[in-house]
């Protein structure tokens, strides 16, 4: 059993095409795996199966070779978890909650906890009941990351965090990845997924419609898109007669977008050298654009 997380044929039909349908996914040790999809697409249902809160209708999921439903109690000690809708146990302050958590997972040195509290600028002495949404989210993150659990499962972990705190969070995820921890996270924030994930699955109506390898989106993709605008229409037309793969043209602007492999980029400059270029810019490939396009493609709607 090599996979840290293995989901096979997982199905849970809630009717109205809600739930999960025949989902297969694997996460390797030390990987950061992301999950995106619109609300109601099944992200939380999948995570709740992994946590052993839900019993699969058919199929199965396992973590470190242990069945998530049957061995849920044992698995809980190996998993740091940030739930999508946070509900704290009935204790008073953030510190009380952390002590409870430390007792459950076995003591880890306090310096780790204090380091996390500092990084997230959390006032853990505040009563849990009076915390803002952002503070609650930070408390839940600290509680999950303070443990030595080898696996972290985060259901929209950064909801309610501001950009500075999101950065603290992605830095932390990267560090923990370097420490060899395996992470499974759902998110609506593409920046966060781009910054931390190895692979990302797109979920739509309970089905995985694509799993992307994030190395295609880190800015070093071997084929890049360039947008070029010319000062003169004749130069625009002259360029179009060259053998480049054109993905978009806007005649009224004398503007053209081409896909060029890095190894052929010298050909692009050779072609442009005797034309009058107004500007050239490279259009980065983003997960957001890819997702929205893919979503409408499978919908049968025109591209956005």
């Amino acid at each position: 059993m090599d996979h840290t997380i293995e989901i096979s044929g997982l199905t849970k039909d809630y009717g109205d095409s809600r739930g999960l349908f025949d989902v297969d996914l694997t996460v390797e040790p030390g990987q950061v795996f992301g999950l995106v999809g619109i609300n109601g697409s099944g992200k939380s249902t999948m995570i709740r199966h992994l946590m052993g809160f839900l019993h699969p209708q058919s199929g199965r999921c396992s973590i470190q070779g242990m069945d998530c439903w049957r061995r849920a109690a044992e698995l809980k000690r190996s998993i740091g978890y940030v739930p999508g809708e946070i509900a704290f146990p009935d204790v008073k302050t953030g510190f009380d909650f952390f002590n409870l958590q430390a007792g459950y997972f076995g003591k880890r040195d306090q310096s780790r906890l204090h380091d996390l509290i500092d990084r997230f600028r959390l006032d853990a002495s505040a009563p849990l009941k009076r915390m803002s949404k952002g503070m609650k989210q930070k408390t839940a993150i600290v509680a999950a990351f303070m443990t030595t659990a080898p696996i972290l499962i985060l259901d929209e972990g950064t909801t309610g965090l501001d950009p500075l705190m999101q950065k603290v969070f992605t830095d932390l995820v990267r560090e923990e990845k370097a420490n060899g921890r395996t992470m499974f996270m759902s998110s609506h924030m593409f920046d966060e997924l781009e910054a931390s994930c190895d692979r990302v699955a797109f979920l739509k109506r309970g089905r995985v419609i694509e799993v992307v390898d994030m190395s295609q989106f880190n800015g070093d993709e071997p084929v890049k898109e360039y947008k070029i605008e010319f000062n003169q229409p004749q130069d625009y037309l002259a360029f179009l007669s060259r053998p480049f793969s054109v993905s978009r043209r806007q005649e009224h602007l004398n503007q053209v977008s081409v896909q060029v492999a890095d190894l052929a980029v010298a050909d692009l400059f050779a072609a442009l050298a005797d034309l009058d270029v107004r500007f050239i810019t490279q259009v980065p490939r983003t997960l957001a654009r890819h997702f929205i396009q893919k979503y409408y493609e499978t919908e049968g709607h025109p591209h956005v």
Partner: protein, 303 residues
């Protein structure tokens, strides 16, 4: 619209002498970390609390003295949505229609349709995303000329975020004036004319998004196939090179758009194996601002 507004909550929290004006038809963005004062400012504009000093006005109306007029003429989307218990979404909509004098049921239907919201269920049982959609619909249904939106897309999924951004653009084209606080830089860049950055209760910078978007100079990263070409380029174009990495045979050049032809012709002479642009985004601008400010020794609100 806002003049030297101050509300001190102690411990360095609150807002301190915040001033800005939003012109009719303008979309004004408000970015900053949690606790910096965005929501406090917006709540002052809604007349929910009295300013300690300074004053806020909308359409010439004093926000603190004329709260009922403000409520009728301004669409408001709160940052943390608290819906009354025991109501369905539809009942809540009717309640808000009464409060805001909204009569246009066609507008309401269009909004429900656009955001794919079924308002019949109990508000208590709604998901975070649906509650957020309900708040969006009630803010826009009376078709007010001025809108105050406090993190409108937080909790919306990516498709809905996209849909909402498109919607705000159309509302802007219809001449609406919008104040938008957001953590989502892509959203702010897509709709705002100007953006204020707020830190520890003070506005530390205001920028036009056009100035960030249509920068007239660009930074390119260029990678060469051979060391000889890398070195030749450095010799030929040295002054424009901002950064060079010999091991990677990569340079970074910053050039004005007017000089782009010159660069392209130069590059045709070498074996280039990589060319990409390093864009300056609002996020870079924001983070740079915060990082440089924290080096000056200013501290966060919790310290």
């Amino acid at each position: 619209m806002v003049d030297r507004l101050t509300k001190d909550y102690g411990h360095g929290r609150g807002i301190f002498g915040v001033s800005f004006q939003v012109a009719p038809g303008e979309v004004f963005g408000f970015v900053g970390p949690n606790g910096a004062g965005k929501t406090t400012t917006i709540r002052q504009l809604m007349g929910f609390s009295a300013p300690q000093a300074g004053r806020a006005t909308i359409l010439g109306l004093d926000c603190w003295r004329r709260p009922s007029q403000i409520l009728r003429r301004v669409g408001y989307l709160p940052g943390e949505i608290a819906l009354p218990d025991g109501l369905t979404g539809s009942q809540f909509i009717r309640f808000m229609q009464g409060l805001r004098g909204a009569r246009d049921s066609e507008r309401l239907r269009d909004l429900l349709d656009l955001f794919q919201l079924d308002p019949r269920s109990q508000t208590k049982r709604m998901s975070l995303g649906d509650k957020r959609k309900l708040a969006v619909v009630t803010a826009f249904m009376a078709d007010p000329d001025v809108l105050l939106l406090d993190e409108p897309t937080s909790g919306l999924d990516p498709i809905m975020q996209d849909c909402f951004i498109e919607f705000m653009r159309r509302e802007k084209d219809r001449g609406k004036t919008i104040l938008l606080s957001s953590h989502l830089f892509s959203e702010v860049e897509a709709v705002c004319d100007r953006v204020a950055i707020i830190k520890d209760g003070e506005i530390v910078s205001t920028v036009r998004t056009d100035d960030i978007r249509h920068n007239e100079s660009k930074t390119y990263q260029i990678k060469f196939g051979t060391l000889a070409d890398f070195q030749a380029f450095l010799t030929d174009c040295g002054p424009q090179v901002a950064f060079a990495d010999q091991d990677e045979r990569r340079v970074e050049v910053r050039i004005d758009d007017d000089d782009v032809n010159h660069l392209v012709r130069r590059l045709a002479l070498y074996q280039v194996i990589g060319f990409k642009e390093r864009k300056t985004t609002l996020e870079d601008y924001f983070l740079r601002f915060y990082e440089s400010a924290s080096q000056k020794g200013s501290h966060g609100p919790h310290h």
